[in-house]
């Protein structure tokens, strides 16, 4: 999961992390400079994270994949 923190909480990202942890999220990284917290949560109810104070949005993590090295279009 990826959480983006409310603008008003950018300086209090540690608090938001703690609150997310209390709601069952395992925190990977707190990226202070851009106000993003990454991690994972067991089960399907990631919506509970959206209600945590200081959370602006929650998204599942996407992955990217380049085409094979010998593919003409990169």
């Amino acid at each position: 999961m990826i959480v983006t923190v409310d603008d008003a909480y950018l300086t209090r990202i540690a608090e938001v992390s703690a609150a997310l942890r209390a709601n069952g999220m395992h925190i990977d990284q707190a990226l202070d400079d851009i106000g993003v917290i990454t991690g994972s949560i067991a089960g399907t109810d990631s919506r509970s994270l959206a209600n945590v104070e200081g959370v602006k949005a929650v998204e599942p993590e996407r992955s990217f994949q380049l085409p094979p090295s010998d593919s003409p279009i990169q």
Binding site: D28, T38, F64
Partner: protein, 443 residues
Amino acid sequence: MSRPFFGSDPREPRTETTGRYLVLLDQGEKQAGIAAVQRATDTRIADAHDLPAGTSVPPSGADGLMFPELGVAVVEVPPEGAAGLLAVAHESSAVHVVEAERVVYATTAAPSTESQFYLRGYRDAVNALVEGIVDGVTEKPNGRAEHGAPNGMGTRVWDESQSTWGLQATAVIDSIYSGRGVKVAVLDTGFDLKHPDFADRRLVTQSFVPGQDVQDVVGHGTHCVGTACGPRQPGVAPRYGVAYNADIFVGKVLDNTGRGTDTQILAGISWAVRNGCHIVSMSLGAPTVIGQSPSAVFENAARRALDQGTLVIAAAGNESRRQDGSIQPVGHPANCPSILAVAAVDENLDVALFSCGGVNPNGGEVNVAAPGVRVHSTWPMPSRYKAIMGTSMATPHVAGIAALLVEAKPGISATDLADLLATTAKRLPLPARDVGTGLVQAP
């Protein structure tokens, strides 16, 4: 592939008509005109004012309808009556023109392949005609040479002995700037730290892939760093790099199979912001679908990066197959409004067939275009160089040029930098959907 001239294979669209006629009346003599038409063709023409609003067909018993505001009547006459109609136009001062009524259709967003072929052939022929009058390399008013002259066969020919066509088309080789003092981060598969062309360059590197170091074994990252920041005089010509004096920050966010996650990319962006990088170049993305909203996470992250002086630039994506009529939406995360999305053009300055377009009504516009076909740049040793294509190749052209702009305009804000890249782009005869404001240009 060369295209035939217009004239060798003309495909003139056939006009569909309804069998009715439009009559243009003199605005001061409408009634006289209508009377003349009715007499000559033995018809009755109703006045639209006498009928309910929205009427567009004659009422029963009438053969025509007149629109007084326009001074235009439409009348139905049998084929033998047409001659009489034309005669009235000729004889009466109250009737100016008679035309067959046409059938019209909504224009589609993308012209058919056939129309494109026709239009391009036409354009190439006109270009060849104009440029054939002026010899090869011409001097532009500001004293800059113009490169890439059309060869009269509908394609452009570039002299790549000294520099790649991409550096010529973007005016990089004419620029006095080098990106000195500017920090450019390239988030990708890393870099070949042993590449001889960069032996004397200082690189700041960081891997965000657990268990893997920055050394590039894929090639993609090496190629992109080369385009963005390659040397002015590489070991082997031609020159392929834009900002040859920029400070290079290599962030490995894609692993040795070319795979990465949002987390890795975000960590890379965060690192770049913290290190005061002016520009972040991301030749990566994931496909999107029409109606999909941009990621709130990436949009917020990119906006915050902008506020802190970092412009994030990303590839629009390669999912289109324009040869089959398919234009796919700009991918994630380039579709974020706060991220500059880069499309690809080919050597003829046409939009590349694979280049994604701004077709999503919800975000996802293309901001600018840059060279993205047959782009020669560095590759891990022993290959040393390789020419590949993609919006991945267009993106570092923009990143490098952004670095030149930062050097040219010290203290420029990241938001103003994005605006400047867009406003100084060279206009192309292509829709904004495909190329944004046009082909990015060096200062």
